[in-house]
Amino acid sequence: MTARSEFEFSVKLSIGQFVPGSSLLHMLDPRVKIVVCVMLIVSAVLVGRIFAVTLLFVLVVSVLVGTGVGAGLAFRALRPVAPFLAVLAVIQMFAIPQLRENAVIVWEWRFLHMTDRSIVSGVLLIGRFAVIVMALHLFSVTTSTNQLIHGVEQLVRPLEKIGVPAHELAMVVHISLRFLPILLFETEKLMMAQASRGADFGKGRGVRRLRRLFPLFVPMFLISLRHAEAIAESMESRCYTGGRGRTSRLRPRLKRADYLAIGAFIAADGAILAANYLFSEAVWGSRALCIL
C-alpha cells in the first residue's frame, strides 16, 4: 500500500511498454514493422472466414517465434483481453437476433440461439481481436517511441508531395508523448492543491461526480494551454520552422534483412487474403464449406 495512492496515477500509465532487447524484430527497421503491423490489422478486419483468420493467427505466432521474441510474450498480451473477448463471443454466438435470419439453426432455447452464421461470427470475432492485439503488442514491445516517431515520419514523407505534413504530424505525436509525464505531474499537484481546499475526489457518480471533477478538468486544460505557449515559444527561439530543410542525425537505411522480411510477410499475408476471397460461397456453392 502506498500512502500516496489517492493521488497517484503513474502506475496506470504503463501500457505496452517497450522492452529493450536484441531479437530480430528489435533489429528490423521501424518502417518495416509499422507496415507489417498495419497490414495485419487491416487484413484481420477484412478477412471473413474462419480458416483465413486462423492462418493469420498462425502467421503472427510464427513471426514471433521465428524472430526470437517468443510466443509466450504474445500470449501474455492476450491474457488481460481474454475474459472480455469470451463475453463478447458468447453474446455474438447466442444473443444477436440479426444472425438468425437466413441461417441454419443449430440449437435454440427461448431467445438464445446458435446458428451457423452466429458460430462463424463468434469465432471470427475472437480470431480478429487476437490477431490485432498480438500485432500491436509485438510492435510496441520491440519498438521504442523514438523509432516509432522516426518510422512514421519517414513512411509518410512521400505524401508530403501531395500536401500531407508528415514531419509536422510526427512532431505532434512526439510532443504528445513527451507531454504526458508533465501532465501527470501537474494533475497530481492540482488534485492535492484542491484537496487542500476541501475538494473531494472520492467515489460518487453522475452529476455529483461531474461537479467534483470540473474544477480539476478546467485548470488541467488551462495549464496545458499555458505550457503549449511556452513550448511553442522555446521551439521558435531555437529556430524551429517545421520539416522543410531539416536534417536528421539518425538516418536509418533499409538493409537486406528488412527487404527479405517485408517481402516474405507480404507474400504470406497476400496469400491468406487471396484464399479468403477465392474460397467463397460463390466459387464453391457449398454451404458446409462456407462455415469454415
Binding site: K189, A195, G198, D200, L222
Partner: protein, 290 residues
C-alpha cells in the same frame, strides 16, 4: 520547553519513501520530528531534494505517514478514517507556484472555491472572500477582475487568498516567494504578517532563500536527505556555517557579510540574520572605537 500537547502540529519519527517495494524506491523522509506552536513562524530550509515538500504534504494529510505519527490539532492523521477534510480546513496549504491552480474566470469565484466546498452560506462565503482579499491587500472590488488578465504576482496573491478564505489556523507555505520581484516579496511578507496578527495563528514555511527564512522565522529546521540535521532559532542555526556549508547550504547574505569580516580579522559579533542586525553589529565596532 513547551508542553508537547499544546502543539498545533506535532510530527514524530515520520518515514516516507516514494514507490516503496519497487526498484525505484527512494527514501525521502527518514525519521523526522517537528512541531509548530501557536503564534509561531517556523521555517524549513534544505537543499533541493531534501524532502521539504514531502514533509509539508504530511502536515495536512495529503500524504499519510508510512511510519511515525502526525498530529494536527490533536487529531492523529495517520489512522484510517481520520477526518482529513476537517484537518485540511484548519491547516491551509499554499503550494509551490500556486498561481497555476487558479481556474475560475473571476477572482472572486476562485477564492470562494474553498468556502463553498465547506458548504458555507452565501453571505458567509462573501464575508470570507472580503476578508481574504483584505488580508492579501486588495479591495473587495478586486473580486470582479478576470483571472486571465492578472500578473504573476497578483495571481499568486489571489491563490493565497483562496487558501486564507478557508480561515486556517496553521498556514503552510511552499516556496512562497519563488519567481517574485523584491517588491512583490515584500508584499508577501506583509501578508504573512497580517495573517499572524489574528490570534492563535501559526505559519510553517519552506524555502531555500536563507534571507527570508532568517528574517521571518522564530525557529528553523534544517532538513538534509530526509533528516533534521539542525534546529533552533535563526541566530542559533546561522551561527553554524560549517554544518550548513557541509550540506550545500549558504548563510543569509547579512550573516555571510559578518562572517567575511570576521575572517579578515575584524572582531564583529556573529549571529546577525537580517540586514538591520548586521548593520547594528557593525555599528557596535565603530561605537567601541570612538
Amino acid at each position: 520547553m513547551r508542553n508537547h500537547k499544546d502543539a498545533l502540529l506535532a510530527i514524530e519519527g515520520v518515514y516516507h519513501s516514494y514507490l516503496p517495494g519497487t526498484p525505484f524506491e527512494r527514501r525521502s523522509l527518514d525519521g523526522v520530528d517537528l512541531s509548530v506552536y501557536e503564534k509561531e513562524t517556523v521555517g524549513i530550509i534544505g537543499p533541493s531534494g531534501s524532502g521539504k515538500t514531502t514533509l509539508l504534504f504530511h502536515c495536512n494529510g495529503l500524504l499519510r505517514p508510512q511510519r511515525g505519527t502526525v498530529r494536527a490539532f490533536g487529531i492523529p492523521i495517520g489512522e484510517p478514517g481520520a477526518e482529513l477534510r476537517d484537518i485540511r480546513r484548519r491547516v491551509g496549504c499554499v503550494f509551490q507556484s500556486p498561481e497555476d491552480q487558479v481556474f475560475e474566470r473571476y477572482v472572486g469565484d476562485d477564492i470562494a472555491f474553498g468556502p463553498r466546498n465547506m458548504g458555507l452560506a452565501v453571505e458567509t462565503v462573501r464575508e470570507r472572500v472580503r476578508g481574504a482579499l483584505a488580508t492579501v491587500g486588495y479591495p473587495f472590488s478586486f473580486k470582479d477582475r478576470l483571472t486571465s488578465r492578472l500578473s504573476l504576482g497578483e495571481k499568486r496573491r489571489v491563490a493565497i487568498a483562496g487558501v486564507l478564505a478557508m480561515d486556517p489556523r496553521l498556514l503552510l507555505l511552499d516556496e512562497p516567494t519563488a519567481g517574485l520581484d523584491p517588491e512583490a516579496r515584500r508584499d508577501l511578507f506583509e501578508i504573512i504578517d497580517r495573517f499572524k496578527r489574528r490570534s492563535g495563528r501559526a505559519v510553517l514555511m519552506v524555502s531555500h532563500r536563507m534571507e527570508e527564512i532568517a528574517e521571518l522565522s522564530d525557529r528553523i529546521y534544517v532538513l538534509v536527505r530526509g533528516r533534521v540535521v539542525l534546529q533552533g532559532t535563526a541566530r542559533g542555526v546561522f551561527s553554524r556555517p560549517d554544518l550548513l556549508s557541509e550540506n550545500g547550504l549558504s548563510l543569509p547574505a547579512p550573516a555571510q557579510t559578518v562572517r567575511l569580516l570576521q575572517e579578515r580579522g575584524i572582531p564583529v559579533r556573529s549571529g546577525a540574520c537580517s540586514v538591520q542586525e548586521a548593520a547594528d553589529t557593525i555599528e557596535e565596532l565603530f561605537r567601541d572605537r570612538t
